[in-house]
Symmetry: D3
Subunit: 185 residues, 6 copies
Amino acid sequence: MFQTRFIPSELVYDGTQLATHWPRRTAGVTGDCVVAFLGPAEVPTENLVDLVDRRAGERITARRMLHLIGVWFGRTLAETVLRQRLYVFLTAERLRLRGLKVLVEGDDLYTPDRRKLSVSIATKSPLAGLIHLGLNDDPAGAPVPAVGLTELGVGAADFARELLEVFEDAESGLESAGAKVRAVE
Amino acid sequence: MFQTRFIPSELVYDGTQLATHWPRRTAGVTGDCVVAFLGPAEVPTENLVDLVDRRAGERITARRMLHLIGVWFGRTLAETVLRQRLYVFLTAERLRLRGLKVLVEGDDLYTPDRRKLSVSIATKSPLAGLIHLGLNDDPAGAPVPAVGLTELGVGAADFARELLEVFEDAESGLESAGAKVRAVE
Amino acid sequence: MFQTRFIPSELVYDGTQLATHWPRRTAGVTGDCVVAFLGPAEVPTENLVDLVDRRAGERITARRMLHLIGVWFGRTLAETVLRQRLYVFLTAERLRLRGLKVLVEGDDLYTPDRRKLSVSIATKSPLAGLIHLGLNDDPAGAPVPAVGLTELGVGAADFARELLEVFEDAESGLESAGAKVRAVE
Amino acid sequence: MFQTRFIPSELVYDGTQLATHWPRRTAGVTGDCVVAFLGPAEVPTENLVDLVDRRAGERITARRMLHLIGVWFGRTLAETVLRQRLYVFLTAERLRLRGLKVLVEGDDLYTPDRRKLSVSIATKSPLAGLIHLGLNDDPAGAPVPAVGLTELGVGAADFARELLEVFEDAESGLESAGAKVRAVE
Amino acid sequence: MFQTRFIPSELVYDGTQLATHWPRRTAGVTGDCVVAFLGPAEVPTENLVDLVDRRAGERITARRMLHLIGVWFGRTLAETVLRQRLYVFLTAERLRLRGLKVLVEGDDLYTPDRRKLSVSIATKSPLAGLIHLGLNDDPAGAPVPAVGLTELGVGAADFARELLEVFEDAESGLESAGAKVRAVE
Amino acid sequence: MFQTRFIPSELVYDGTQLATHWPRRTAGVTGDCVVAFLGPAEVPTENLVDLVDRRAGERITARRMLHLIGVWFGRTLAETVLRQRLYVFLTAERLRLRGLKVLVEGDDLYTPDRRKLSVSIATKSPLAGLIHLGLNDDPAGAPVPAVGLTELGVGAADFARELLEVFEDAESGLESAGAKVRAVE
């Protein structure tokens, strides 16, 4: 059963949170889940999961982000990458319902003036597929032109709770979509 | 290697096109692919893949739709449902880039006045995962309030070709996303 | 999310209930589930899923059984056979907690005097793994020496509800067992 | 081809034996197998595979246990957890056939006076699913009320050989169960 | 456990033998296996598994072939196609050890004068991966220039038994190859 | 999309090249691929992937080899071992087309005088199946009687390019073989 959890205290995201058992250790959630929290992003190059970025010596830095960590046990990376793309679109959809203009490019969110709102990655552990989706709240320190939820007039904690509900609905929709069709030839 | 094909002649979609080997038989494409064509939708109740709809005695009817049929060999239904949702969002994104307002709800596209633009289903055969995405062009005959690409000022054939390119890019992005990350713990 | 359901009205089990979408059609449960009901077993040879039995021209007949039909989407047959064996043992365990003596042999339950209490099979559809577990209530008509729940002093409807709870707990235990271990070398 | 092996010399189980290639290195068995041996259990907290137990700072200690280590290549953790539960039940069944009373709770065996007879865990390596099942022989040092095979009048070495036969039969039964059914709808 | 069987009586191969349970029904082998027999090939167009050939209206005909039917439960088509190619090469290797010159092209065997020695296909059922490999013994009736084992001086029945041993060794080698390596990064 | 690449500069193969992201880091190829290069083989015992060889304290040494490193994302070890065997046969086939006599035994190539031409291994990382195939060019230093491409009159760089083409064709053939058959019962 898919679960979600919002951790009310702020935590630094340094990349080590993208780990199979982090949600269980930190938020007490066992099983498939998305856990949200707010806090700075300070991911040193060596912790990057995207090896292209790591090679380029990049870092992920922002004064404050809304972080979403998802874990799905027993899933392939191919399936997890698809889920990540879907989650990015679901996030964009909620921003648009608030009247905001955002663009989705691959797994990135931008404002129309080409400022980056998000970082995201999908990966795999020996036991699970994992996703990190980070939305800038205060993008100070970001290595590229960036924008944050605060500037867009979106309360990060409220939006976290909204997204967790949206993701829960989406997972439930995905599950029933796979259980109400007949096979074809 | 993922391929796309646009069939220039119009064909009736009656549900039997959602079949593993239909793209090979009809468009000569062997392997993972999306094939697009224009034509009426006349899916009788007994051909519906969505068993909830079938039970309700529904039908899919429209005078003209843009049909996209996708086949991915060796994929699970869970993965195919994720891909279907992603494809619906990618379609919405292209409409928005044309300045149109559309809403995504699950695997459906609506205009803000709650008229339905699309039908879609994901399913599985013994050999492949399959997707049908149909976008109304002329929605006459649709059993619910509906809208079509023509009314929205979108040329269906042009949009077909645009979507095929978008899907090809997306598949390529998905593939490389799964091949450039390190595993985590 | 795994669900269970008890259908209060009696139904004949003739083998066609062992089908992916039967729980949805009959009990309104979409997704992984076990559905229980009481009723006669009248499975003609040609409906048998066990091909060894079918070849031998066997039939499954009993005046009244407790039937449990389980469906797990996207699972392999190998996994479903393991689950079936586990469910048979879980059933035996509950009978023993009531002070009854039963023996488990493969996927069969016997009383110490070698009378058969159960029939069971695991199989696969294009979309799911499926299990049928039938416990004789009134074994009249069974083709082998048989015993029923009534004779053992077990109320079939009560036991159905008890088993559904046990299976729900077991599924939840299985899920968390897979989400609280570290990988090894 | 599934194989079993009994190692006649005693070995300490400290957790590092739960490793893909331990049976090959130690007992010369290549491929899916269960290997049994007798010896003390001295698993320090940091070697625990169950992360809930590890977090609680627990240890596994007993003066002498019957250890069973199983490895199944290419299997998922979900399947391995099912197999583990089945093996625990198969073990209980053999004790009952000797006239002993045991209770199965999840993956634990107890005597009716709530003393623990076993420890068990299922996990995964990059190449295989793995199971450890330990049955106390002399439970001295166990951190909870415990009972051993000696006190129950069961010879540990004899029982090891008996279980290996039982597991071999069970694996053979599982394999043929998956190869004698027809698929359903 | 992989098994092989040679059926001493001749049988007509008409395509319906390429079925999950045919080896069990006909040769009493349950589980992964290759079954060999001699007999005419008379596969009408509508029984062809290769849909390209079927579309072209082809047939498979030969007065006498050595037929090998293989079934591997729970395997994907991708894996089965690889196994088929390997089996074709293993067959060629044995012919070469007898001093014969053969060429392997895809899944076909030819003599240097471009006469076809074999037909072969890999496919999937809901439960298994399946392979048919047919070697002409007397190619009379073949729709293309063909050669048979008799003309090559190879006794078909002897060669059948030789191949079954070779395939058994190969399966055992494949299994141990997957159980004696360490994982890499 | 499967890709191939020949690295023109010589590199030492010490075993660390058999890694998921080595082709991307070294040759800029992202995704399924085979990368070829020439250079010495100096694999210390502790880098061996074959644990039987590692245990025996063996090493892989040769003054110059043609190395082929293949990576297939998301594939099982069982499938990768099959592919490895196929690649070895494909290599033998090309040597025979040049009039050379070679024998295939398991995953090894020999000349008729029992000198070893190749080393090969298939393994798995958390993300991919991997293959190393090394063909001696100058076998000096090999721990067993060995032969090299130079002595056989085969230009290693030319043969590398030939093999890459052959593997590309084979992968394309495998893919279409899985996309042109109907399923059977």
